[in-house]
Amino acid sequence: MESPPNAFEMRSIVKRFPGVLANDHVDFSCQVGEVHALLGENGAGKSTLMNVLAGLYKSEAGEIYINGERVHLNSPQDAIAHGIGMVHQHFMLVPSHTVAENMVLGLNTPRFFLNLTHVEEQVKALGEQYGLSVNPRARIWELSVGEQQRVEVLKMLFRGAKVLIMDEPTAVLTPQEVEILFQTLRDMTKRGHSIVFISHKLDEVAAIADRVTVLRRGVVTAAGEPAKGTTKAQLAKLMVGRDILFLIDKKKAQPGEVVLAMDKLCAENDRGLPALRDVSLQVYAGEILGIAGVAGNGQRELAEVLTGLRKPTSGRMMFGAIPLDSHTNWMEVGQQLAHIPEDRAAVGSVPALGVAENLILKRYNRPPISTRWSINYSAVHENGVRLVEQYKIATPSVDTPVRMLSGGNLQKVILARETSGQPKLMIAVHPTRGLDVGAIEGIHRLLIELRDQGAAILLISEELDELFSLADRIAVMYEGQIVGEKSPEHANLHEVGLMMAGTKVDS
């Protein structure tokens, strides 16, 4: 069978960022009517490549052909004029405007008089045609994230996009919404559209893509392989360049004494509503206690209470023999309690400060880093160099501002800071969210190592896979309560899933 023509073809694209070769002579093409997945770790150059195609970045070298014709795409307007539209990870919509108003945003036509009713009809028709139903008069802020994504897709179709680039479209969606999206994408390919699907999730790629191209550190490691007939393990290997252990091999936990004990803890959320209801848990030295639960069931408040960022309304917490109820006692616990916060950029790090300065955030005020008044910057530097080496943090220098680091490396900076102080207790909140396979594996290893050194670890995560492979016990939270506890060996996903949905299961 003759293969369909290429919708576009990128040849030998080179794109450089300061200190990084993001795309190193990358070839990539997409046939008419296919879903072509672009797979790779964070920072592999997927989004960069597609931003070049969408006219947002200018490549240093390389050529782009659309329908066989050489083109120069210097702006998103150029790209869309050639039928290429990109749906970004972060939506480019005006929240206070309606769907129809967002459609015409940035268009040069009409010049003066805007016939919104006409636009609304068109949007409606397009929506019905593609199964992307949204009310054209709804304001963006009224829509769910899934609906907003539909608006973005519609916007591109409205502008005549034949090729649709979806940058990690499922990251923000619920499983049901993902199903709907996949159905839409399939429909679109039947109508002759081509989809570039950027992802680092192997399951999704297997579910939706016709062909897969894998990028690793800016280089193509697999070009246009058929998705059927390629196993997850093969793809993972192409992505990271080595075999990934999907099941972490770890020794059986050797629980010691209780490190953290919670007794009927209650707390309120930011709106003053009860978020934690009588939470009683013990975390032992040398074990990982996983907290499972759908987001927004009190996990955040639990982590904040346990790290002193939020005051409980009632109940007690004990760190060993120290009751965590006064400032003095919190200070005494100090570095023995480590915390990987949920939001590494907004809470866990100081973006404009260098790697070395971020690494001392939790002990800038004690020796050997500082004396009574001043900070010993040669000690800061040495500490930075040592930890960068030990935790294999990829950074141009220890003085590089951490906002220049990738998500995985930033998380490593935080982990290095939090674990290097030999903590007795670690509260890890979504430690691998948004990271690629290689980085996830590294972080899992570090957590297990920490456990084997005798630390107690409380792991809050939404990824059941992560909990099942890491945790020694799993407690499930629902509406601020612990609804049950399971050991991963004696539980299955289905059971835990039921508990997360609020069904009590005998433990």
């Binding site: 960022f17 300061p18 970045y57 200018k58 083109v71 120069h72 210097n74 307007q77 150029d78 869309i80 004029a81 459609m103 015409v104 940035g106 268009l107 040069n108 036509t109 006409h118 636009v119 068109q122 397009l126 179709l157 409205f158 502008r159 005549g160 790290t307 002193g308 960022l309 919190w330 200070m331 915390h339 916060p341 939001d343 907004a346 809470v347 866990g348 790090s349 100081v350 973006p351 404009a352 400060l353 300065e357 955030l361 939790k362 800038y364 005020n365 500082s370 008044w373 001043s374 900070i375 910057y377 220049m404």
Partner: protein, 399 residues
Amino acid sequence: MKLNGTNYRLRVEARLDNPRWIGLASSVIGVLLALFVGGFVLKAAGAQDPVATYKVIFKEGFGTFADWQAGVNALATNTSCPKGKLCFGPLSDTLVKASPILLTTLACIIAFRMRLWNIGADGQMFLGAWAATGVAVFLLPKTTDRWIMLTAMGLAGTLAGVAYGFIPGFLKARLNISEIITTLMLNYVGYKWIEYFVVVGPWSIGDFESTGRFPAPATWPRLTENAEKYPITAGLTVHPGIFLGIAAALLIAWILYRSRWGYEIRVIGNNPNAARYAGISLARNIILVMCLSGGLAGLAGMNEVAALRELNGRFSRGYGFTGVIVAWLARLNPLAAILVAILFGGLLVGTKLIQPQGIASMLQGVILFVVVGTELLFHYRIQLEKVEAVMVQKAEGVS
């Protein structure tokens, strides 16, 4: 952006890195651009030749090379400044102006570093001037030793500034009331406070709206006091206030880059959430930094009255706001602030003779405007590139 009539276009791309030279470049280019824009205003105000006007401003503010040469010669031979030459006169006047500016600039820098927008340095300076005057004229005897007197005045001025900075700091820390509003409003309270004491009321001598000349120990020793021994110093009013400013700049630099407290300030300024997470108290630091900021401005007030040798109803407003501009121009770097403050002192001295009198303020405003603008520009990379034969089509909807 296609350049009409050429085959070239400008391409604007966000810059991902921010090299160190950008700060310096945008300050320098900002000043040059401001002078350029200011030239048009000068022209509109009736100047025949704006470049000549700038030359006059520079000459008045810093002197010429010939002036300095004559000054050095006179110094070597221990004679007075030859007739027709200015020698070190302009430089001396400039340093006199620069010292309060440097102190208010440092007050702004330390606060701005923590994103505390203290625009009340002017009012804090007024309170400092008031307190120093109180100590000098009404508290200590006229015969007090000069350095004891000046130290006491400095302490009083600083403390008054600290107290005046504490008010907005406390309101911000405890009740989250915007320091922008409170510090701005407290400026006017400061002006009225002085007005009450020296125009209306108790500290004025008769109807002179002035406390009258301070006792000698309460004034800065000036270089000109040595004129009998060293004739070259005749008429030079420069005083040790500039050293006070430089010492303060060194202290602030040490605090910011070497001390524990400075680390806390930089962390809070960049990411208050991370600071809270690291256990750094925001409320405490807001109050402390506002106190330090106010204290520096208060010291500027003491410095100014000790130089003016009296407190009167015409005590000059505006140094606190000049401090805001100089702080930005110096990129919130306390050491760069020394140089920029001296340049601004020169600008103020140099424009004294220029009519209309608003020229100096106009230039200051334009400089701030352009510097903030160019900084934004430098966050983008601008490239000139050749346009090849491409169809640059307009985007169109499905219609």
